[in-house]
Assembly symmetry: C2
Homo-oligomer: 167 residues x 2
DNA sequence: GTGATATTTAGGAATCATTCCTATCGAGGA
DNA sequence: TCCTCGATAGGAATGATTCCTAAATATCAC
């Protein structure tokens, strides 16, 4: 998807995000590919147009766009590796409130790969389903802004846009 | 799942992994929880029994166990964040050969959350399906050890067990 | 059992993605 | 056009993970 400046301006305004040349270049580069680039990839790409741009701006902008719901992190919660001794096929319930990951066993979900793999030019060796949402406990507690949270939001947009690692 | 020393010994032997007190403690701690701990979590836990253990040993051991297929990383490929401007619901084909992530649109997969969400004590706000395997190109190239690769393998067990960041 | 050999451990240093800090700079409303 | 607040860029700091190495330990052949 390549995108016109007007369309971009419209999307930014809708989400209340300021438009700057740097941001346009970053969002444009991301919207122009399906390759799920890293911040570094985008930095290298945008540098062709804005040679003086800093990596910091790329990170900051991606944070803003993520908080605004204009972009998503594919592998969110990538900050630290998490391990599991359960090597059988199973799926995960990921709580956006407390970040807990629960296991989910479901034979129907286990069979997805057969169905999908057979009609793609891709040899499927495994698969996994993630459900995102709020666990019973978090729901009881207060349901923290569920309606407006997007994948990968865990800080509020205006106080600290750059996401802070939670430790 | 808590596990007996004998059972552990059996699993280690099956996979050709040496058993040491430190490894037993690490694997035991991981097998004794469903909380998907981080290396740091396991380090803290194992320290209670082996106060002199180093973080390095925990990392090294987790690497060995992962290569042997005894444990999995939940959020593998967590090394760097990857972004996507496509915020519509879609799924991913993840190539274990070249690490490329392709998009997959599938209306049937999109409906999973309704079915699953309605029978759990978990409010599902979104979901995503990942298929792992080998893309057409990688398959044509040579299919690098597909049969023995597990989630999160990208280096060979004996040359460098501790996974090396690929840049 | 004993010794030889290869692996594992632990400590410290190094790496590198990401975040923090701060002094300009610029977008957009008045 | 001017003002104000948010954006930018550079540099320093952070922290998970990996690298390097010497000493400790497991395993194997005898």
């Amino acid at each position: 998807m390549t995108i016109s400046l007007d369309e971009m301006r419209k999307r930014f305004r809708e989400r209340g995000v300021r438009m700057t040349p740097q941001r346009a270049a970053i969002y444009g580069a991301l919207a122009g590919t399906t390759s799920h680039p890293t911040a570094e990839d985008l930095y290298r790409e945008v540098k062709k147009i804005h040679p003086m741009i800093s990596q910091n701006t790329v990170y900051y902008t991606l944070g803003v766009l993520r908080e605004a719901g204009l972009v998503r992190e594919v592998n969110y919660w990538h900050d630290r590796s998490r391990f599991d001794a359960n090597i059988g096929l199973h799926h995960h319930l990921i709580c956006l409130g407390c970040r807990k990951i629960e296991d989910l066993m479901d034979a129907t979900l286990d069979r997805l790969s057969v169905r999908v793999g057979s009609r793609l030019d891709f040899e499927v060796t495994g698969h996994r389903v993630e459900f995102h949402g709020y666990c019973a406990e978090c729901r009881r507690r207060k349901k923290p802004g569920a309606a407006t949270r997007h994948l990968g939001h865990y800080s509020s947009p205006h106080t600290s846009v750059q996401r802070r690692r939670e430790r």
